[in-house]
């Protein structure tokens, strides 16, 4: 893909997002002029860029949307839901096209008809509005009804073609539009390009030139006078033609003809005069280039004349006009010896150049020295020091480069950890305590630098939660209309920052929770009013930073969860026993929703599936190292809270050993480490326990859980690591505590992926591969080992 197209696609994504967000806000606050302006500008910028490529349907569709937005921002139209629907549909279609372009570098084959359908809808409100405007401009550019008989200028078309077309139109009961465009003789001076305008007509069938009745003699011929008219047959709609020629309505005649009308024209009483012979003249390339150059020079001179007419320029503006006139004169081969800054002589010179081109101009008037005041601004401009360029403050960086930098930072941490082993070796192997201490000092400095570098790199990867939240206004709008519910979305804390990977991984769980809320949680307006609630429901998305985690909450004021119904359903599905049915608390019952295979939806909905998603939500969040919890009040609403780590890149683990083998345990699970005399371990039922500050904490023998051969020395104190899992404290009996280290956690691959008790591996500074434990799985193993 060429870089210009790649740039366009990247920019288009940003602009279309702006349009989408703006339109949704506009529906809520239609009177906000600043908001309309923003949406219009984004659409306008997008259209300007799209014009560089061969995507005519894309540009036309965007143009139609832009015109509608322009009418809204100028106050001629008020935005309503219908218009918003059409605009959103148009930009959705464009978004789909761009996805196609990304793969195939061209629009899909269906672009034309798809665009036409939406263009018609978008122009609908404008059409009604443009009717009075059309009556203001004379003559009316289009016939209201199909004409009975074709106009005289139909003769420019080939009679045989007209006959065949008439047959075809009669057979298909169709009509065709015929356009005559007679450009004004001075149109070139207004930067009009009649041929270009005609080439913009969609679905052309035949284009013919209407030559003047009599060409002027060669000696008075002016090639900058437009003497040719155009006639065109097209299948495009009248409305579209009216729009295309909206700037030259007085020069255009549009008629709609069916087969009969064409035949009546062909069988007119007087036989048609044969059309004048068209003489094609070949133009040599070099001559064409000279003509182009002369045309450009002429355009510049015409612009200069316009500048002198519109206003009386002075200072820098006058100097600029003089300079452009000199440039154009030079291109035309007319020598200019000095600048002429005064308005009168400049005006006269421009008039002379325009009148006499391409004839050589008269001798230039005598040179008059310009007054010093006029020279000052240009002198100052020329003597300005070429200082540093003012660059943009934003630097777009490839994600891959940031990821690579992140990996290097991680490896720096690993290398840094090697120093602690080196310090130990210095003391134990070489007996030098002084050297060991110096190495530890170096480690401290390096540790601080590495931590700051890591924080800086992770900051680069931080994005605001608004990135994840931005899709929900549209999702909720579409789904709520489809379900016949009225929902207001409130977002809070969108500025909260989180890691890009976390935000991306958050997308699916959030979508699922929102869909569930809309589908199952929120009642219909009628149900809500019957329950004494406001007809419009509210969904609140909240994000807040909490230490090294971010908390995202989705809350609704819907019907809430019926704990009794949930328990009954779980019992019916065999998820709980009859005893549990009686003893479960309300919050425990709510938690059942996260069990696999659970669903309370009695009728399956295609919007949120069969309700199996809730266990998937929890699984995906926990895979990120996060947690999910839910609170609900029956009749008042449900709130689901996701807690996610700020970053998934670097994990702090506590290193412990058992049977001489070292393992890592995530530090965020560790509550404390304790050493207790062996005698204090007690036994309750089938478990070892220890009493800590009045609390009975069960103790798991890690060696037994992992099936490793190790028995603690009966006389020694027990090393117990206290961890917290789902709010419960559990003790882990280990042989020895070591230290906390930062590691890059890498997931298990291949066959080892089935070893569920390990969440991954990490490389320690001494080259040892550390297995990091998955505490949930370890506890399951321990339970089975009892």
């Amino acid at each position: 893909m060429n870089p210009l197209l790649a740039q366009f696609l990247a920019e288009a994504a940003d602009l279309l997002t702006q349009v989408d967000e703006g339109l949704l806000q506009l529906e809520r606050d239609p009177g906000d002029p600043e908001l309309v302006n923003e949406v219009f500008r984004a659409a306008h910028t997008f259209k300007g860029s799209s014009g560089l490529f061969d995507f005519p349907e894309l540009t036309r569709l965007t143009h139609a949307a832009e015109d509608l937005l322009d009418a809204v921002r100028s106050g001629r139209l008020a935005l309503d839901s219908g218009m918003a629907d059409d605009l959103l549909a148009a930009f959705d279609l464009i978004r789909g096209w761009l996805a196609h372009v990304t793969v195939h570098e061209q629009l899909p084959a269906t672009a034309g008809p798809a665009a036409q359908s939406l263009i018609t809808k978008l122009r609908g409100p404008l059409g009604g509005e443009s009717a009075p405007a059309a009556s203001d401009s004379a003559p009316a550019p289009s016939a209201v009804a199909v004409a009975v008989r074709g106009p005289d200028w139909l003769d420019v078309f080939d009679a045989e073609w007209l006959e065949k077309t008439a047959s075809w139109l009669s057979t298909t009961s169709a009509t065709m539009r015929f356009v005559r465009y007679t450009p004004d003789e001075g149109c070139f001076f207004r930067a009009e390009d009649p041929l270009h305008l005609m080439s913009q007509v969609p679905a052309p069938a035949v284009l013919a030139l209407i030559q003047p009745f009599e060409w002027p003699p060669a000696e008075t011929y002016d090639e900058y006078q437009c003497l040719i008219g155009f006639a065109l047959a097209t299948r495009a709609a009248v409305g579209e033609l009216n729009h295309l020629f909206r700037y030259v309505p007085d020069q255009v005649e549009i008629v709609e003809l069916d087969g009969d009308a064409i035949r009546r024209h062909l069988s007119g009483e007087e036989p048609p005069e044969p059309p004048p012979a068209v003489v094609a003249e070949a133009v040599v390339q070099s001559q064409a280039e000279n003509v182009e150059l002369a045309r450009d020079a002429y355009a510049i001179l015409a612009a200069a004349q316009r500048s002198l007419t519109v206003d009386s320029p002075s200072g820098a503006r006058l100097s600029a006009v003089a300079r452009s006139v000199a440039a154009a004169a030079s291109a035309l081969g007319v020598p200019v010896e000095a600048e002429e800054p005064d308005i009168e002589s400049l005006t006269a010179r421009v008039a002379t150049l325009l009148a006499e081109t391409p004839a050589p101009a008269e001798e230039p008037p005598p040179v008059v020295a310009p007054p010093p005041a006029e020279r000052a601004p240009s002198d100052r401009a020329r003597t300005d020091d070429p200082g540093g360029q003012v660059g943009t403050r934003i630097l777009k960086v490839d994600q891959e480069k940031v990821d690579h930098l992140m990996e290097l930072v991680g490896e720096l941490n690993v290398a840094k950890n090697g120093l602690t082993f080196l310090a130990d070796a210095a003391e134990e192997e070489f007996g030098s305590r002084v050297l060991g201490r110096r190495i530890k000092d170096q480690y401290s400095g390096l540790h601080r630098i590495a931590e700051e570098l890591q924080a800086a790199v992770m900051d680069v990867r931080m994005l605001p939660l608004s990135v994840a939240f931005s899709r929900f206004p549209r999702l909720i709008r579409d789904l709520s209309r489809r379900l016949g519910k009225t929902v207001e979305l409130v977002t809070e804390g969108e500025d909260t920052m989180a890691d890009k990977d976390v935000i991306e991984a958050l997308g699916d769980p959030l979508v699922h929770l929102v869909r569930n809320s809309l589908d199952h949680g929120i009642e219909t307006p009628a149900e809500r009013e019957a329950a004494g609630k406001a007809p419009a429901a509210k969904i609140t998305l909240t994000a807040v930073a909490d230490g090294d985690a971010v908390i995202v909450e989705i809350a609704d004021d819907g019907r809430g969860i019926d704990a009794d119904r949930v328990k009954r359903k779980a019992y019916e599905k065999g998820l709980i026993s009859e005893d549990e049915l009686e003893s479960l608390t309300e919050s425990d019952a709510v938690d059942l929703i996260f069990r696999p295979g659970f669903s309370t939806a009695d009728q399956v909905s295609d919007l949120s599936g069969r309700g199996v998603g809730m266990d998937a939500v929890r699984a995906s969040v926990e895979k990120l190292g996060g947690t999910v919890s839910m609170r609900s009040q029956f009749g008042r609403g449900t709130s689901t809270r996701l807690r996610l780590p700020l970053s998934m890149a670097v994990t702090q683990v506590m290193v412990v050993s058992v049977a001489g083998q070292r393992f890592g345990i995530p530090v965020d699970l560790v509550v404390e480490t304790v050493r207790v005399p062996g005698a204090e371990l007690g036994r309750v039922l089938h478990s070892d326990v220890v009493v800590l500050r009045g609390e009975v904490v069960p103790v798991i023998d890690l060696a037994r859980a992992l099936d490793m051969p190790w028995t603690p020395d009966p006389a020694a104190d027990r090393a117990i690591l206290i961890v917290s899992l789902h709010g419960q404290r559990v003790g882990l009996l280990v042989e020895q505590f070591h230290r906390e280290v930062d590691v890059i956690l890498k997931p298990m691959e291949g066959l080892l992926a089935y070893a569920g008790e390990f969440s991954g591996t990490a490389l320690l500074g001494d080259g040892l591969v550390l297995l990091v434990l998955n505490m949930k799985e370890v506890l399951s193993l321990a339970a089975r080992a009892q």
């Binding site: 740039q7 306008h44 300007g48 700037y247 612009a303 320029p313 000199a326």
Partner: protein, 128 residues
């Protein structure tokens, strides 16, 4: 003697259009700088003497008309030619550009060869 390439400032809020114009003018032998809106353009013009400006009309922060007026005012006071390019093709738009101080008004998208030709013509007086 080394040839001094004329300096052009391309001013447009659409990065794609800036890239397009920058490539065209760069290939035509110009030294091209970019600005994303009128305000950036004025700042750039205050520190660099450009030989030609190619200015869009609809831009945030400062639109093209105000930008051109400022370039012509005492603040900057550049006598360099200014070429305005816009998707708006009504007669009044061109007059407004000329009143602000532009020297030519073209409609987007500009033919590649024409842009290069006009740019060369308007900078032909720059000392070699």
């Amino acid at each position: 003697m080394t040839q001094n390439r004329p300096k052009v400032l391309v001013v447009d809020d659409a990065a794609t259009v800036r890239l397009y114009h920058t490539k065209l003018l760069g290939d035509a032998g110009f030294e091209v700088a970019e600005a994303a809106n009128g305000l950036e353009a004025v700042e750039a013009a205050m520190s660099t003497a450009f030989d030609l400006f190619v200015v869009d009309v609809n831009m945030p922060k400062m639109n093209g008309y105000t930008c051109v007026e400022t370039l012509r005012s005492e603040t900057v006071g550049t006598p360099a030619p200014i070429l305005m390019i816009s998707t708006e093709d009504r007669a009044g738009d061109a007059d407004r550009a000329y009143a602000a101080g532009a020297n030519l008004y073209l409609v987007k998208p500009v033919d590649a060869e024409r842009l290069a030709r006009v740019a060369r013509m308007l900078t032909s007086g720059v000392a070699a």
